[in-house]
Amino acid sequence: MKEFSAVGKRIPKTDAPDKVTGRATYGQDFKLPGMLHGAIRYSDHAHARILNIDTSKAEALEGVKCVVTADDVPETRFGFYKDNMPLKKDVVRSHRDEIAGVVAVNEMIARQAVKLIKIEYEILPAVFNVADAMAENAPLIQPNRDSNHLITNTYNHGDVEQGEAESDVVVEVTCKLPYVNHASMETCVIVAKFDHSQNLTLWSTTQIPFLLQKDLGAALGMSPKNIRILQPTIGGAFGRELDIYPYHPIAAIMAKKAQVPVRLCFSREEEFRAGPQRQPVEVTIRAGAKNNGDLTFRDVSMTLDVGAYVSWGSTTPMVMMETTASFYRVPHVRFKADCVYTNNLITGAMRGYGNPQSSFYVESAMDMLAEKLGMDPIQFRIQNANQPNTITEQGLKITSCGLEDCLKALAERAETKLEPAAQPHLKRGRGVGGTLNVGGGARIYRSDGCGATVKVDDFGHVSLITGSTEIGQGSETVLAQMVAEILSVPVDDVRVINSDTDVKMWDVGVHASRTTFIAGNAACLAAKEALGQIFETASELLGASPDSLKAENGQIIAPDGKSVSLSKVVRSRHFRSGGQMVFGQAFYDPPTELVDKDSYHGNISPAYGFGMQMADVEVDTETGQVRVLKLICAKDIGRAINPMAVEGQIEGGAQMGLGYALSEEVVIKEGKVMNPNFVDYRLFTSADMPEIENIMIESNDPEGPFGAKGIGEMGSSCVAAAVTNAIYDAVGVRLTQPPMTPERVLAALDTKAAG
């Protein structure tokens, strides 16, 4: 195999020096001359009619510039189902509903002022769970719909009844997956500014600058072509900003009325209250296998509470159906998901996007089957593992596939048996869980593409202008590595420009583990085009054919050993009569398709990633506390462009997955968040983390850039599944409701003891 100079190297992140010295400028550090500060007034009730809004006291407060309400904007609707509006006028449908906003000289005064807005309500009956929302005569949440039932997604292949009839063992389990929050360190922040010609510029922590442009146009009743979005350094996102949320247009409405730039910055409490959460799911899976260990069928039905307005949470069934239908080989599958409006929180995209949920129930059922069959859980999975170059019943074209290698790696580690704990009330166990993730985007929008420009200047400096977005994951570094590899320049010579919709070409957004793959392919194509131009000019200078040239360390070298520097080639091409610059441009849209809207069959991703994790746990049977002793993560990543960055994604995913498994839950009571802070919403700390071992399986994907596949999400997806299976192994109780808190574990132990 060719030895690479930049790809595959453990290179520090290019933005790290600014981050460790406190120089990186985030949205929250950002100031414009004359900028004022906004704050939002939310609803006091889960469901109510607004009778009157009295803003007089807020307007009179010293330091307040203006107050905005729905009266300040034309009535617009946005969101997939056009069910949301920036400021609510007649009815509020949840505690997160925005009613008014205040612009003031500082945030403190703005926040004081919103409290002074007096709102009279007529309280309406509300529903806080799916059953109540679906009951006959339930209060209707969205008035232009017939019921609170939003949509049913159904999927079938084979014949589940036949599959069950052929089964020697059948298991069934019902799981309840919680709300969790992204808990990015930086909260949502936006700065909006209008120029004299009514062009809007936004500085935003968004993950979807181009879609936001479009959606904001709809929300504000203006043309997207007058909206420019800039992205400062973003302090984490994890799917939080994959959609438009009302605060985006509200900031613009404020800036328009105040006629100065306005910044809107969420407090931590607002992040929990008004931001999206991971989609909660109540799901029952029935699954079967033959005595020889072959899987026979899966039958899954679930309900999803999507809150009062639809965001990406409602589309997580598409991902869960993929795991259900295509993770391991199952001949007969039926899947049904009902999404329902309630007066609860809104649900959005979050790292893994349905996979943590589906991995949990699928892998719980896999362990239950293995136990009934008396088979080793890893061998059972190996027997049913997906294989390379196969097409699943659903139509996923699995090309590279390292699932079996991941499982074999874990089997090898599992040969070392767990040491028993020292004391009788501490029990140890081991469990595995896996995940099938899209490995190179997911076509959920008409285009899954990304544009890139690579230009080389007269000094040999390379700019990659990419449509993609950096949210901390290290995309700037891995993209620079790929471009540097192709042009054979040092990585330091490549600067990545990615923060301005007026400069960069379109990209659908940073999600679905797609940036390395999609933006990487686009960058490689653009770099190759630039290299072609370089070779073209260099061939004149060196008197050798372009095909015979090679690039190395910033030099272009001919077969006879003669060489010329890259910068000299560029200048030679530039400074001549009819001169040209070196620049390559590409738009890469992967060879995928939207799923069929009825059957949900179709190949949505150009590659699929597979991951398995094995957790060793210790359960305190007196308190129910669970300690994870070790987590082994085996991941099929295609190829590691930067192994250190891959490890960072897996380990960071592990922290999020462990929280999902054991400590994190957004607790709601009648639609209101009861723990909107880091005191009561518990993220894992360094001391809670187990030892992690990373095993990277490089399956060398045929379509991926340098063979790479995405890894951004997989790390978090299967942790909870591995942990619940490990708890079962330790104490013989099956936990079906994460987070598996000490309380839930102890209650399960007590139920078991009571027989």
Binding site: P12, K13, A16, P17, D18, K19, V20, T21, G22, Y26, Q28, E62, H182, A183, S184, M185, E186, T187, T233, I234, G235, G236, F238, R268, Q423, P424, H425, Q473, G474, E622, T623, R627, M644, A645, E647, G648, E651, G652, Q655, M656, S663, M674, N675, N677, F678, V679, D680, R682, L683, F684, T685, S686, A687, D688, M689, P742, E743, L746, A747, D750
Partner: protein, 491 residues
């Protein structure tokens, strides 16, 4: 007496007075000084993104020289009135001459930063560990970073960065500053109390505010007597959170930061006496040698940043029924020293709380120290804290269990549970039952059932009542497995 605070930030001198002194350090850094490398993420001391170093004059060494001792703090919950005569070092000033500091370089090299928002906080926490010359092991780094949340890295690469450091000598952060000047400046000003009174006019309403930073206990006691509604701030780790979250709006603050007479731990034949200004870090260090059971709990109950500021006295005054120290104090029957202009009195902790956050102390009294009797090393003492997360987590349930044996029989037992009522509770019936029993599984099985009957916990966001009842029972089994089984074998 002066009417301004003296604060150094990154070697520069600032005199701060009036309303400026009534703000958090993080606001002062970010908004007044433009030092935005310090981030605010939670505004309640949970995430550590706002971590900075604070240097204060320590006790003189044998040659009579003093130096500044640096430790990490959460700048979002330290208000400027707590920082008189302190030198603050932020991430912007952490460098090695004009080069990037080795800690920062290690973070770069190990990819310890992804989105980077928490990174300055981690860098400063590692700098604090270096200043204290802590040996970097995986365990010490994990524990040393419990006050810093990261959502991107899973901490592994940050831990790697720290472990890579150990081999290389790291220059002290102080080398970039003229410490002598700062020290001599502080030496002069530390003898003067600060009193600042000002009027805030906003929206047509005038509000009088004042803060007082006494340099002697006598001054403090007298101020407390002469003023109504004094909010006494020791470490401020709770009060500042309440201010940030707008739960309280104090207008008269007394900061005890300079009361050096309350900063010691005395041990004599009878008592261990802990001054009200002794920080958890200092007490933790003391306990490691002298009271390992308490050290165990101190190690996990809060982050280094919190422990560097918070105090045992503050924990007692805050009066949370879930305060981690209280079960210990209850079973060891500690006494609280209350000082007023009339003198001093000692009150046994079991008599100190009259109801939820209701203290048996007068408005003119200050908690000045806490003492307890030295324990017989053969006595059994175990403290428990049950929470979702290992560290820095509000407990669901706490317990203290103390047992003195005589002739293989329980002679004295004291049990205290927290999180099961409005105050920490002793369990007299269970204690009575245990009297004269042997340390057997059966004893503790039965004791658990009695303990369960003695409490009526409530359900809240952290736990249900049922779980707390179950823990009340099970914790005695856990105690048996962890402490007694071993004991019986030994006998």
């Amino acid at each position: 007496m002066r009417d301004y605070l003296l604060i150094y930030v990154n070697g520069r001198r600032y005199q701060v007075s009036g309303a400026q002194g009534f703000q958090s350090l993080s606001d002062f850094l970010r908004y007044d000084l433009g030092l935005v490398g310090t981030k605010v993420v939670c505004a309640e001391g949970d995430c550590g993104s706002c971590t900075v170093l604070v240097g204060r004059i320590g006790l003189p060494n044998s040659e009579g020289d003093s130096k500044l001792n640096y430790q990490s703090i959460n700048s979002c919950i330290q208000y400027l009135y707590q920082l008189d005569c302190a030198h603050i070092i932020t991430v912007e000033a952490l460098k090695n001459k004009e080069q990037i500091h080795p800690i920062q370089q290690a973070m770069v090299d190990a990819m310890g930063s992804q989105c980077g928002y928490c990174t300055p906080g981690f860098v400063m926490s590692l700098a604090a560990m270096q200043e204290k010359e802590e040996v970097m092991t995986r365990k010490s780094v994990q524990d040393g970073l419990t006050g810093n949340l990261c959502r991107c890295t899973g901490y592994e690469q940050i831990i790697d960065a720290a472990l890579n450091l150990d081999a290389k000598p790291v220059p002290s952060v102080t080398e970039n500053f003229d410490e002598k000047t700062i020290l001599s400046d502080f030496a002069v000003y530390l003898t003067q109390a600060v009193f600042c009174e000002f009027e805030e006019n906003w929206n047509g309403v005038a509000r009088k505010l004042k803060y007082f930073v006494p340099v002697s206990l006598a001054e403090a006691v007298s101020f407390q007597q002469k003023n109504d509604n004094v909010t006494v701030v020791a470490g401020g780790t709770d009060i500042s959170v309440q201010i940030n979250k707008e739960r309280i709006e104090p207008d008269c603050i007394m900061s005890l930061v300079h009361l050096s007479e309350l900063k010691s731990i005395f041990v004599d034949e009878q008592f261990v006496t802990v001054g009200a200004r002794v920080s958890w870090s200092e007490l933790g260090k003391f306990c490691q040698k002298n009271l390992p059971q308490l050290a165990e709990i101190i190690a996990i109950f809060a982050s280094p940043q919190i422990k560097n500021c918070g105090t045992l006295a503050g924990n007692i005054a805050n009066a949370s029924p879930i305060a981690d120290s209280l079960p210990f104090l209850y079973v060891i029957e500690a006494e609280v020293e209350l000082t007023s202009p009339d003198g001093v009195r000692w009150l046994e902790i079991n008599q100190f709380y009259q109801g939820y956050k209701k203290l048996a102390m007068n408005p003119d009294e200050l908690i000045t120290s806490i003492r307890w009797q030295m324990q017989d090393p053969d006595d059994l003492l175990k403290l428990y804290k049950v929470s979702k997360r290992k560290d820095l987590d509000i407990s669901t349930f706490t317990a203290g269990i103390y047992i003195k044996m005589n002739n293989n029989k329980i002679q004295i037992s004291r049990l205290a549970y927290g999180g099961v009522g409005p105050v920490v509770l002793r369990l007299p019936e269970t204690e009575q039952f245990l009297y004269n029993k042997a340390l057997t599984l059966e004893t503790f099985l039965q004791a658990g059932k009695i303990a369960r009957e003695e409490i009526q916990p409530i359900s809240d966001v952290r736990s249900s009542a049922d779980y707390r009842l179950q823990l009340a029972e099970n914790i005695l089994m856990k105690f048996y497995y962890e402490c007694c089984k071993h004991q019986v074998k030994k006998a």
